[in-house]
């Protein structure tokens, strides 16, 4: 087995792992996918260590002198469940059929390049989420409307900030601050509008559900490091959401807008 082939396999495997990790998969799944792909190509020594911020893979096969090691740093991530699902299918296909490495690479490029839902659709979805939650948490018809518009604005702002790689803590803070501002403005100007359900609805949009779920699943499979990292992420996001809304409400009360 020549060095070139080993390297190609490694790059393919790590690409699959990178896509999964970026899209919000659990550690166990990423490590499993990488080692399966390598094993399917006839490499018998594979060791993977993955964390939410980086993947380390080392491979070797009988009779060769050199171990190939690859470190992939993972920066921004954006939850995309269809990619996880696709890569999952891909690894199943790759290991059971005799697909070549080049074909596999092409398929992965396709998976990485696809955009599932257009931007306007996701903005609309965010609006639906915030407005539904505002009604669940005790809002009326007016709050539904206010939350709909606020949700759109917040999601758009969040995507905008993400483009400029603002970190998640500040992003959550700014977005809920905007939500609180819009909600208070609506409550002040429209008769019968409440601010609490609207803000709550917007908080639900940014709530760290992915981080909580993944941290538990990581703990369950024994990846304590990633479990802790994601748990901390969840706690920080929660605090930033509360702080963003809190600061705006505090200012508003200080200026005599509402009394708590």
């Amino acid at each position: 087995m020549d060095q070139k082939y080993k390297k190609d396999v490694l790059i393919l495997a790590i690409k699959a792992g990178k896509i999964m990790m970026k899209s919000g998969a659990e550690i166990y799944r990423v490590e499993d996918t990488i080692s399966r792909i390598c094993k399917a190509c006839g490499i018998d020594y594979v060791n993977v260590f993955a964390t939410p911020t980086g993947i380390f893979v080392s491979i070797d096969s009988d009779g060769s002198d050199d171990t190939v090691t690859y470190i992939k740093r993972i920066k921004s991530n954006e939850t995309d469940l269809s990619r996880i699902s696709k890569v999952n299918q891909f690894s199943r296909e790759f290991t059971t059929t005799d697909m070549t490495v080049e074909e596999g690479m092409k398929l992965l490029d396709e998976i990485e390049g696809r955009r599932k839902y257009p931007f306007w659709m996701r903005v609309l979805a965010a609006a639906v989420v915030t407005s539904c939650f505002s009604v669940i948490f005790g809002g009326g018809a007016i709050d539904f409307g206010v939350a709909f518009v606020t949700g759109m604005l917040c999601y758009t702002l969040s995507r905008f900030l993400e483009k400029y790689e603002i970190n998640f803590f500040i992003r959550g803070f700014i977005c809920t601050a905007l939500a609180a501002f819009c909600a208070l403005l609506a409550a002040a100007s429209v008769e019968g509008a409440m601010y609490a359900p609207v803000i709550t609805g917007c908080i639900m949009l940014f709530v760290p559900g992915v981080a909580i779920t993944n941290s538990i699943r990581d703990f369950l499979s024994g990846d304590m490091l990633s479990g802790l990292a994601r748990m901390t992420e969840a706690a920080l996001i929660g605090i930033s959401l509360a702080a963003g809304a809190g600061v705006v409400i505090k200012f508003w009360t200080m200026m005599g807008g509402i009394t708590l």
Partner: protein
């Protein structure tokens, strides 16, 4: 029962929104949505009968986890695809807000009470997923063992 229907629909649409934001594959969206709404109803019902949102969150998370794993098994997909949009309805976003509001009012005892409840609810969601995950692991290994035993004889 009639009170639950609008709640079910609201949770349905909310989960639909999350499913689109998190880009769940189109053919899996209907299942996702039903899983999320069932979890929310389980939370509401157990909150009503047991008068404890923490236990409600636990049972809701258990149901979401169980349904997701069944769906993952049937549709041959990763369980995460169903769990992530489903669990989001249960995350105590409202409690985060009320904790912060109590803090602004300088009502620290109230803040402590609600804040602790928030943490416990998040912990209960974690516990629910953990319990279901552990059980499926045991069941899966049992199935594997029986299959290998059958092969031997």
């Amino acid at each position: 029962m009639m009170i639950l229907l609008p709640q079910f629909l609201l949770a349905l649409f909310a989960t639909l929104g999350f499913a689109v934001i998190f880009r769940v594959p189109v053919n899996k969206i209907p299942i996702c949505v039903v899983v999320g709404a069932c979890g929310w109803i389980a939370y509401l019902v157990s909150d009503y009968f047991l008068d404890s949102p923490v236990v409600g969150c636990f049972l809701g998370a258990c149901l979401v986890g169980l349904l997701s794993i069944i769906a993952a098994y049937i549709f041959k997909d990763a369980a995460t695809v169903f769990i992530i949009p489903g669990i989001l309805c249960l995350v105590p976003g409202a409690k985060i807000f009320y904790t912060m509001e109590a803090f602004l009012k300088n009502d620290l005892s109230q803040m402590g009470t609600i804040g602790l409840q928030t943490l416990l609810m998040a912990g209960a969601i974690a516990m629910g997923l953990l319990v279901i995950g552990a059980i499926t692991r045991v069941v899966r290994s049992l199935i594997k063992k029986t299959v290998t035993l059958k092969d031997k004889f």
